[in-house]
């Protein structure tokens, strides 16, 4: 019974709890049971809040028993990526620097989810400060892919992806700066949504690259992603880059989810069929195209000529912003401080605390960012990247706005291949950066993107396991309602999302 509860989507579970057929306490216990039986092998969680979660679950049960109105997520166990601040427990960013850091406040998304009745059972592993695509850059834990434990779950939201894929929770929050929600979602066979920049408040998300970061839901169904977004989205006075109510428009993402988009036009970029793609990625994309054609959609071949420049622009802009954002970790205000010896002074305090506190990938990105912003290189690198960013966005504007040929969304791969082996790309930063080739452009352009399960690479695992493969849909800014409907059309027609990894149970 406990297993059956843990297998439910958030939407189904929420209905059972509201109808008093399942208690929130039972739901939270089912989630905690799954975590205690599986997480020793998966390593998705850095912290578990057993007592607090059970207590809050019982309080939701009392409210429902007393006939009170409860929120849209009342009683449902969820997880939070550990770079999102919670006023309880720690917020470590999987970094030695913040290993014992306790935030005095909760992020706006945490507050909104808890106000809607969600029960936070724990915080999940990530690449340190969300910098990475495999979770191998975590200083505090190792997460494996539930489909094949020799492989990476992707990253940086790898802990959240693994927790959802292994059915420990039905919803986990991720953050996505260059693909950190959509890439791990693809590698673990789940749904991952990066909303439009400004759709969800970033208040309380530890900043990596502020013009690219967005928080989003990772779930097992499109419906759950819509439900979570409905709770999380909206203008926030505490985030000056959150979009105002006029831009936000209707936030009822679940309302028309089941209604297919009539006259759907999807653009498939010529550039998506790269020679670098694993055959299963091309097969999944072909499969998705066939599904949409069968559903009456028109598939339009489009050009995103600057897609190939995405990674180069991203690896200038993101490190530049990171070098500035991470300057706050100075050994004085947060986290850890190096022990100074006689004769060492303030400069050494900064430089040694940062050398001891940050792992290699974070150091590399801070260095890269400092380099591209430094005097004499600014125009050649940073300014060039900002101009490239405009050109990359222009490709999407052209696809969505083309007179007579406009498409409702772009359909393309989420990743170049299925999950790769842990350690395979650990010594070659550039190889790992190229994992994000299909995802970074949505961040650069500020557009919403969603990864959905779209098939398997049969027998591609180390012991012959099948590995999941996703496809990605990218839509115009603030068009999540339609983007989710398009994703739901594929999901309803295929059922790929119902497959569970062999490790579950």
């Amino acid at each position: 019974m406990s297993g059956a509860i843990a297998d439910m989507t958030i939407g189904a579970l929420r209905a059972e709890i509201a109808a008093r057929r399942v208690s929130s306490e039972a739901a939270v216990r089912a989630s905690l049971d799954r975590m205690s039986s599986m997480d020793g092998r998966v390593g998705a969680f850095l912290q578990v809040f057993e007592e607090r979660a059970l207590e809050r679950a019982r309080s939701v049960d009392r409210a429902i028993g007393g006939g009170e109105r409860v929120g849209a997520l009342a009683g449902a166990p969820i997880a939070i990526k550990d770079n999102i601040c919670t006023s309880f427990g720690r917020t470590t960013c999987a970094s030695r620097f913040l290993e014992r850091y306790e935030s005095p406040f909760s992020a706006t998304v945490v507050r909104r989810l808890e106000d809607a009745g969600a029960i936070i059972v724990g915080k999940t592993n990530l690449d340190e400060f969300a910098m990475g695509s495999s979770c191998e850059n975590s200083a505090l834990g190792k997460t494996v892919n539930p489909w094949d434990p020799t492989r990476a779950p992707g990253g940086s939201s790898g802990g959240s992806a693994a927790a959802v894929a292994a059915r420990m929770v039905g919803l986990a929050l991720g953050s996505d700066t260059g693909g950190s929600i959509r890439q791990p979602a693809g590698l673990t066979g789940i749904v991952g949504l990066k909303p439009t920049y400004g759709r969800v408040s970033r208040y309380g998300l530890v900043a990596f690259a502020s013009s690219l970061d967005q928080i989003g839901p990772m779930t097992r169904s499109v419906g759950d992603a819509a439900l979570a977004l409905e709770v999380m989205a909206g203008s926030d006075a505490l985030d000056s880059t959150s979009a105002d109510e006029t831009r936000q428009g209707s936030l009822r993402f679940t309302q028309e989810l089941e209604r297919p988009v009539e006259g759907l036009r999807l653009g498939v970029p010529r550039e998506a069929w790269s020679e670098q793609n694993h055959p299963a990625v091309n097969a999944a994309l072909k499969g998705a195209i066939e599904v949409y054609k069968r559903l009456g959609a028109t598939i339009v071949e489009i050009d995103l000529p600057n897609l190939k420049h995405g990674i180069a622009a991203y690896y200038i802009i993101a490190p530049a912003e990171a070098s500035s954002n991470l300057a706050r970790f100075d050994g004085v205000r947060y986290g850890r401080r190096a022990k100074l010896t006689d004769g060492e002074e303030l400069f050494d305090l900064y430089a040694r605390s940062r050398a001891e506190g940050f792992g290699p990938e974070v150091q590399r990105r801070i260095m890269l960012g400092t380099y591209v912003l430094s005097s004499g290189y600014y125009d050649a690198y940073y300014l060039t990247a900002l101009k490239a960013r405009r050109v990359i966005k222009g490709d999407f504007d052209a696809a969505f706005g083309a007179a007579g040929g406009a498409v409702h969304a772009v359909l393309m791969p989420a990743t170049p291949g299925p999950a790769f082996k842990i350690g395979e790309k650990a010594n070659d930063p550039l190889a790992l950066y190229l994992e994000d080739v299909y995802t970074v452009t949505a961040n650069l352009a500020g557009l919403p993107g969603i990864t959905i399960p779209a098939g398997f690479a049969d027998g591609a695992g180390t012991k012959g396991e099948s590995l999941p493969v996703g496809v990605q849909l990218i839509g115009p800014a603030f068009d999540e309602a339609r983007l989710l409907r398009i994703a739901r059309m594929h999901e309803a027609a295929t059922g790929w999302h119902e497959k569970a990894p062999g490790l579950a149970g």
Partner: protein, 111 residues
Amino acid sequence: MSELSADAVRKVARLARLALTDEQVTRYAGQMGGVLGYIERLKELDLEGVEPMTGPVDARNRMDEDVASGERGEVSTRLGPTDVTRMAPEGGDRLAPFISVPKVLGEESGS
């Protein structure tokens, strides 16, 4: 560019306030050189006359009333002195509202 010189890496590390070992300097020189070499491909683009794009939203200044947070009906972001000192490695309740730092005045600070 395939490798950054060790001196260039040391200079950047100093700007970034990172005390690196010689071994790290050598390793990062190769890795950063590889990434910078890849980034060079942006030079293929014709970016003549293109406006730089700093972010996805057109930045506009949003003027707020000059009142303390929490007094306009939103969530207060005010932190008390101990909220701040507790986040600091050499702070905590013991020194509140102060944080201990090495001497910063009266001598060359090294930067």
